[in-house]
């Protein structure tokens, strides 16, 4: 490990300094632990688990093999490899956010449907139990 970080000279491989490497690694590991704890408590649906574990793994790989990042940067025409790193992170976050907005849309639609169903049920129940307002049509009230 140490050797790997030490080998990462500022510019040659990945363009990140040893300190940056250590910092990113620690942060990523903390994130991993956090995700795993949440999953263990059954607080996270598996689709999100997959998402976050995949994201964490990607970061770990990029940090452990700085050459990969350097090569990717050259491929994309980015001269400062850490910028590639940040760009990937931002890209992933955008996709995640789009996914979230989709999930929120669906949840909201379902909540709306439930609210309508509850309202219709309540109307039925009050009509049957004859406990709605006395001025209601007697035909309906007496049907209970």
């Amino acid at each position: 490990m140490i050797a790997l970080f030490a080998a990462a000279s500022p510019v040659a491989d990945g363009g990140m300094s040893t300190r940056a490497h250590v910092a990113i690694t620690l942060i990523t590991l903390a994130g991993l632990v956090f995700v795993i704890r949440m999953v263990r408590r059954s607080q996270l649906r598996s689709k999100y688990t997959v998402l976050w574990l995949a994201a964490s793994m990607t970061i770990v790989v990029l940090v452990l093999f700085p050459n990969l990042l350097a090569r990717l940067s050259r491929l994309l025409g980015i001269y400062y490899p850490p910028a590639t790193f940040l760009a990937i992170a931002v890209g992933v976050l955008f996709l995640v956010a789009v996914q979230f907005s989709w999930e929120l849309s669906r949840s909201e639609e379902r909540i709306r449907v439930l609210a309508e169903e509850v309202a219709l049920l309540r109307e039925r129940v009050e009509a049957v139990s004859g406990e709605s307002d006395p001025t209601t049509d007697p035909d309906v009230s007496s049907s209970g």
């Binding site: 709306r112 609210a115 309508e116 509850v118 309202a119 219709l120 109307e123 307002d133 209601t136 035909d139």
Partner: protein, 243 residues
Amino acid sequence: MVRRSEKAINTLVIIPAYNEELALPDVLGSLAAREDLDVVVVDDGSSDRTSRVAAEGGATVVTLPFNLGIGGALRCGFRYAVRSGYERAVQFDADGQHDVAALRAILAPLDDGADLVIGSRVTDGAGAYAVGRARGSAMGMLRRVVKLLSGRTIMDTSSGFRAFSRPMLEYFARTYPYEYMESVEALLSAMNAGFEVIEVPVVMHSRTAGEASTVRFRLVYHYLRVMLMLVVKMRRRRPREAT
């Protein structure tokens, strides 16, 4: 699933109401004279006594547990109409804007096969309804958007005075849109799905409580949003299967 009263009433008046305890009694009073109509008030999570006032006015009351907006309240009303077995329904405003006398005109085309009848404020022959300048130009814009996307000219695209056939009710019970300006979106969606849309001129009263609340900026945003959504969405709809 048929639940309505024994008398052969097959027309339901749907009144979405949000904090309308003041206007509602008069509206329900004017509707009570019509023995051939059932009335359901959908209380859209009001914080006032709307539900109680509606029940006292003789209407069936469906109370939403929180505010869903006019589109959500309407969809709930459509669902009620479908489940209770009504053959047709009319959307009616809680604030006294619509006239009971106009019900005949708006319901008649349903018998001739129309699925959606729009009671229009601005067609020639309509009555005394005065349209403000900002509102007028907004209506013109919507008219052009609808024309562009459906090929048809509907004069009053956002009118809230509409009548629905049973197939239309079944379609809207599942799909009625609920975002701001849902009436225009619903209109286009109905036309795109192959429903028969007809417009008739009706007299309308000007609103008792003026709602000039839509600030210019928000209005512009919503128009742009509606147009964007319409353009993006409207191409995909499959033609409706024959009823």
